[in-house]
């Protein structure tokens, strides 16, 4: 019971510090807005995602179409609103994959040391020797285009950084007396990792994850832009930009708005992530 109380007050502390950071709160507000847009896209978007209207092709922004229409007469704003769904989904799911896999591997490496540590960390070194964009391109090529494949391609490159962070934190935690005490009363390794190690390495994982979502969204958009991620007609922002490329000379709005959408999302995630890092950093605690 006592432990539960302490845990609460620690997170309340973090939230209290975070609340004072105006930029982080702005980021959070934008994020909430984006999530709402994604959830209620069907009600918010003025037109359907694939609603083609050949009599209104390539129209400049107007009251009827605030961001103009594309070469199929589809409303760009509606597609961007639906695209929020795809981008947030890719960002969060791929991050979840890499956070879970990376954390488990990192915790095992740090907790068990020895041969499992060597194998896991050398594997991480190898993956990190390939620039993430290039690795994602190679994986996406193998898996082929598609939403799930893009998520996996983006996720794999991020696993090593999670593994490293969690391993480092585990190493500092595992020799603490309370872990020793747990072992003394006969707790299993799984129990110790889940119950005692994991809660203590949660903070670095959360920071890494918030900033990682931004990177994942950017990376997924680049893959789609290169034509090996999510393919049209799915309204993914990167693939919208890719399709709009050939219209850059005459229809500026086609290449402008999807990019702005990516930028706003990534900016919000970065602001919030930076704020969260500062709020969780005990060095800044007064």
């Amino acid at each position: 019971m006592k432990i539960g109380l302490r845990k609460n007050s620690q997170w309340r502390d973090v939230w209290h510090r975070l609340k004072k950071n105006r930029m982080a709160m702005f980021g959070l507000a934008v994020l909430i807005l984006l999530v709402l847009l994604a959830i209620f896209a069907d009600f918010i978007a003025p037109y359907g995602v694939d609603e083609q209207n050949y009599s209104e092709m390539l129209q400049s922004p107007s009251l009827r179409h605030p961001m103009g229409t594309d070469n199929f007469g589809r409303d760009i704003m509606s597609r961007i609103i639906y695209g929020t769904r795809i981008s947030l989904l890719i960002g969060f799911i791929s991050l979840l994959i890499s956070a879970v896999v990376g954390s488990i591997l990192g915790a095992c490496a740090g907790y068990f040391s020895g041969i499992s540590d060597t194998i896991i960390m050398r594997g991480a070194d190898i993956l990190m020797a390939i620039p993430r964009t290039v690795l994602a391109i190679a994986i996406a090529t193998t898996l082929g285009p598609g939403l799930v494949n893009a998520m996996i391609a983006v996720a794999i490159g991020t696993i090593p950084s999670f593994a490293r962070v969690v391993r480092a934190s585990t190493l500092t935690v595992k020799d603490q007396e309370y872990v020793e005490a747990a072992r003394a009363i006969g707790a299993s390794n799984t129990h110790i990792i889940a119950k005692y190690i994991f809660p203590n390495v949660l903070a670095p994982i959360i920071v890494q994850a918030t900033l990682g979502v931004a990177t994942a969204i950017l990376l997924a958009a680049s893959l789609s832009f290169l034509g090996i991620g999510i393919e049209p007609p799915t309204p993914e922002w990167g693939s919208m930009l890719s399709a709009a490329r050939s219209y850059i000379r005459d229809y500026w709005y086609m290449v402008t708005f999807p990019g702005l959408a990516i930028m706003v999302t990534v900016l919000a995630l970065n602001l919030f992530g930076d704020g969260l890092r500062d709020a969780l950093d005990p060095k800044l605690k007064k």
């Binding site: 190898i126 620039p131 290039v134 391109i137 090529t141 931004a214 034509g227 000379r249 900016l267």
Partner: protein, 328 residues
């Protein structure tokens, strides 16, 4: 120190072999039949099968990987399925272009990032600091390929000042270099600023001020030396990020570098070229990380003494975070 260098080099070799295994495995499982790609749709199934046999595509995985590694140790990366030329030749023809892009971008990032970061820290909370911080934040959030398109839109399409594609002279480098370096400029600015802020609050700086040293000298002589140490790592990572950035930007600006070669090869299922491209990038990336680690140990006497003290007992900590190339 020598022992550290040798050990560090020896560690790199198995990593690179691991990279070849990963890339080879990925390409092995990629859909599409190279023999069919080469012969085209008109070829009969027998002809395709014959070529498959001849190219060793029917061999088991380990045999193929073994052959690939044997060739690799002889400096042979295989032949391009499309042009028939050796992959090494194809890479060597394009590598200078990509390297030039990465070097120019890195230079631009350092020239802008470090001074702006220093000024930003020294004049904390001034208008300059706020503007620089905001721009740096935009820099790390803007997708590089979108920035490239916006630059083309403004400077090529609307103003007509700079060429949008190809590579026929110095002016063709301007837009790609700006687009690739935007993230690096922002990252280096942020890193320099935060590192500088940390240093100028330390006691020895206060001491320098107390003895009446001029502010300019304090910054250049005392603070900078320590503040730039973490920045070195970031510069290295940014150089690598420049190379990855080149992959996407070469595609947009139609620049004949490694990146465009790889993306074109992916679309054509030209695996030897993809493998070779990834391998060469990973190799450069590893060499770069090695140089940074060594440089880091060289400029920071603390690491050197720490290493001398621990020598055999502990492996030196991973000096450079290394490997994170996308802004985070």
């Amino acid at each position: 120190m020598l022992r550290y260098i040798i050990r560090r080099i020896l560690v790199t070799i198995p990593v690179l072999i691991g990279v070849t295994l990963i890339i080879f495995t990925l390409m092995y499982f990629t859909k599409g039949d190279p023999a069919r790609m080469i012969l085209g749709d008109m070829a009969t199934e027998e002809e395709v099968e014959e070529l498959r046999e001849e190219m060793g595509l029917n061999d088991p995985f380990l045999v193929r990987y073994g052959n690939y590694m044997l060739d690799l140790f002889h400096g042979d990366l295989g032949d391009s399925y499309v042009t028939g030329l050796p992959v090494t030749e194809e890479i060597m023809a394009r590598l200078p272009v990509t390297m030039r892009l990465a070097v120019y971008s890195c230079a631009l990032s350092v020239i802008i990032g470090i001074p702006v970061g220093i000024l930003s820290a020294v004049k904390q909370y001034s208008i300059l600091d706020n503007v620089a911080t905001l721009l740096a934040l935009l820099g790390i959030t803007i997708p590089s390929f979108w920035l490239a398109m916006m630059l083309i839109l403004v400077f090529s399409v609307n103003l007509g000042w700079l060429p949008a594609s190809g590579l026929y002279g110095w002016q063709y480098y301007i837009l790609p270099v700006i687009s690739i370096s935007a993230v690096s400029i922002a990252t280096i600015t942020r890193m320099t600023r935060s590192s500088m802020l940390e240093v100028i609050r330390q006691d020895y700086i206060r001491t320098a001020r107390a003895k009446g040293q001029t502010e300019a000298k304090i910054i250049t002589k005392h603070a900078l030396k320590n503040a730039l140490i973490p920045v070195i790592t970031v510069i290295g990572i940014q150089f690598a990020s420049g190379m990855s950035g080149a992959v996407v930007n070469e595609q947009i600006f139609a620049i004949p570098g490694i990146g465009k070669m790889m993306v074109d090869a992916i679309k054509a299922r030209n695996y030897p070229v993809v493998q070779g491209g990834v391998l060469i990038i990973a190799l450069l990336f590893s060499i770069l990380n090695l140089i940074i680690d060594l440089l880091y140990a060289f400029v920071d006497p603390r690491i050197k003494t720490q290493y001398a003290r621990k020598k055999e007992k502990h492996k030196p900590q991973e000096l450079a975070a290394g490997g994170e190339e996308v802004s985070a």
